[in-house]
């Protein structure tokens, strides 16, 4: 991405000796106007509503502020308070628990689905549609439905379990089962998204590679591990990066399914940021926690990008 840019000439055109036009100052000004015309519609909202607020959040995090009274500068006080508060560790642990439970399920499930729906099944566009349906459904709806399915006394899941003589747990009403309930609903919702990304990746793999390896007598598992997975590694990488970024930002489902309860058992980082800001009026501390979360996500993403050379092969 930076390499071509580094080769740009001063007049804003690629340095290409053959076709480089001699440009007058007036032409250059006109070219700059064209670039601005194409870039400003996106640059203005990004600067005003993403980058600007982000820098502002850093400043807010250095202050004590309840959103109403004037800010009071306290330096790193909010960060010190957060780091000494055991609840900070708890909300990060709950978030990690979510990510660790959710990621393997959606990746393995999504991969299996993509492999199956990439075969010559007919009616597969209907099947793809069904598996994709939860992706386009609002979290609020999914949470409502799953709260009901997992209702301890009369929910469908416990009724079915009871049919087999198993006493189902209290799901979202039980501190030990609240997070697994959220993970199950989340996996159900996101399976189709992972499936679509991996399906697109599978379709980009040339079929002659499979033909050649079949001739060599390689079995299905062998082809999976020696052709499919390596060639699918860029998609896998994309899914992991996106899922981890989204996983650390988990909020909607927690808010709608448990509200962080029972007894704070499923309180995650963003739920905590939300509560601090709008329930307890601690905007400074909330901004500090936001920045800690951002740095964690950035670190995780950078580690993934660095590590990708070891296992991601770009065709």
């Amino acid at each position: 991405m930076t390499a071509p840019a580094a080769r740009l000439a001063l007049d804003g055109r690629p340095r290409d000796p053959k076709s480089r036009p001699v440009r007058s100052r007036r032409n250059r000004a006109r070219y700059a106007l064209v670039v601005l015309a194409f870039l400003l519609p996106s640059a203005i909202p990004l600067l005003a509503f993403t980058l600007g607020p982000m820098i502002a959040a850093l400043w807010v995090s250095l202050n004590q502020w309840n959103l109403l009274a004037p800010m009071k500068f306290i330096g790193l006080g909010n960060y010190a308070k957060l780091l000494s508060d055991p609840q900070t560790g708890d909300v990060f642990l709950h978030t990690l628990y979510y990510v660790a439970g959710y990621l393997p399920i959606v990746y393995i499930g999504g991969l299996a689905l993509a492999l199956a729906l990439n075969t010559a099944l007919k009616g597969r566009s209907l099947l793809r549609g069904i598996y994709f349906l939860p992706v386009v459904t609002s979290w609020i709806v999914v949470a409502l439905v799953w709260r009901w399915l997992l209702s301890p006394s009369s929910g469908v899941v416990n009724t079915v379990l009871g049919f087999f003589g198993i006493a189902g747990p209290g799901w979202w009403t039980d501190p030990n089962w609240a997070m697994p309930s959220i993970i199950i609903a989340s996996a159900w919702k996101d399976l189709g998204f992972v499936m679509i990304i991996l399906l697109a990746g599978l379709q980009a793999i040339p079929t002659d590679m499979y033909d050649a390896s079949k001739m060599d007598g390689a079995g299905w598992w062998r082809r999976l591990f020696s052709i499919t997975l390596p060639l699918l590694s860029p998609s896998t990488f994309f899914v992991l990066v996106i899922s981890l970024i989204n996983g650390f930002q988990v909020f909607d489902q927690v808010y709608a399914m448990t509200g962080g309860g029972p007894n704070g058992a499923s309180e995650v980082v963003v739920e905590q940021i939300y509560d601090m800001t709008f329930r307890y009026g601690e905007a400074g501390e909330a901004s500090a926690l936001s920045w800690i979360l951002f740095v964690v996500i950035l670190a995780v993403t950078v580690i993934q990008v660095r590590g990708q050379r070891r296992w991601v092969t770009y065709g």
């Binding site: 840019a5 349906l133 940021i273 709008f278 901004s287 920045w291």
Partner: protein, 296 residues
């Protein structure tokens, strides 16, 4: 599902997995059947919550403890009538449609113009600017809540549609998606148009945009979906009941009508229908759009 089953029959009738002669082909047939059974069972399990939602929404009086029968004995649209008469749900659906339509339209403009600039208009520092654009994808919305709230409060835009809309106007995801697509449009086309005397604006409208339709359709689905389902920001900005969007109204329904699950589920069905229609309209483009984005 029935479609897939029929199809299995048709496939076998056509003899596609040939009549089992050798052990290998018998194993292949077994694998074929197992695959279908597992995939279809999975689809049934996937679809079950939707089915349950639909059944509940046409069973008046269904509650958390008084679950409806799988085949409703006395189906009725009364919950839908109650949803739209007792609550301002017509307004709520219109609000959501309006916000999603504006977000989608604006994102199509901002994403395609920016993508054209990054793909076709080289300028000094382009790589750096693009890296910053991409980095905004990694900033969680939650980091921005407090300063955005203050910013919009300063401008007096709290509790207004504009306040809910402004932060959604540019999407780094959309720009990235479309840039990858534009990169794949052959440059010969631009050059031919340039020789004909076309400027960048004409090339953009007449050459590039018609060639990236699948990516544009993909962006429409993702933009519309993210706006239609967005919860946190509208919850904070849109405080008046008459401005509420669907996800917020549904969450509120849950609090107020704790026992009226039929009405809640009717609201859920209503919220899924537009997205389902959009997906059906765009589905042939979506896989293609993701595939050509270079994400592979």
């Amino acid at each position: 599902m029935a479609d897939a089953l029929l199809d299995l029959g048709a496939r076998r009738a056509r003899g596609i997995p040939k009549a089992p002669r050798s052990r290998a082909s018998r194993a292949r047939l077994a694998g074929f059947i197992v695959l279908h059974v597992v995939i279809i069972a999975g689809a049934v399990a996937m679809f079950f919550p939707f089915l349950w939602t639909i059944i509940t929404s046409i069973t008046p009086g269904a509650t958390l403890t008084n679950a409806p029968a799988l085949i409703p004995t006395d189906p009725s649209l009364e919950p839908y009538v109650r949803l739209f008469t007792e609550r301002p749900f017509v307004q709520v659906v219109l609000n959501s449609l309006l916000l999603a339509a504006i977000t989608t339209a604006v994102q199509l403009i901002t994403s395609s113009t920016a993508a054209y600039a990054f793909s076709r208009l080289p300028f000094r520092g382009q790589g750096f600017v693009f890296a910053i654009y991409l980095a905004t994808m990694m900033i969680p919305l939650q980091v921005l809540i407090v300063p955005l709230f203050v910013e919009l409060k300063t401008f007096g835009l709290l509790n207004s549609y504009l306040g809910a809309l402004l932060p959604t106007f540019a999407s780094a995801f959309g720009i990235f998606l479309l840039r990858q697509a534009i990169n794949q449009v052959p440059r010969d086309l631009d050059e031919a148009a340039t020789i004909d005397g076309a400027g960048h604006f004409r090339i953009f409208f007449q050459v590039v945009l018609p060639n990236i339709r699948p990516a544009l359709a993909t962006l429409v689905v993702f933009s519309f979906m993210s706006s239609w389902n967005s919860f946190l920001w509208p919850l904070i900005v849109l405080r008046s009941p008459e401005l509420q969007t669907l996800p917020i109204a549904l969450a509120a329904l849950q609090g107020q009508y704790i026992s009226d699950w039929d009405v809640i589920m009717a609201g859920s069905v209503v919220s899924v229908i537009p997205m389902l229609a959009l997906y059906i309209f765009a589905q042939k483009y979506v896989v293609q759009g993701v595939a050509s984005s270079g994400i592979k």
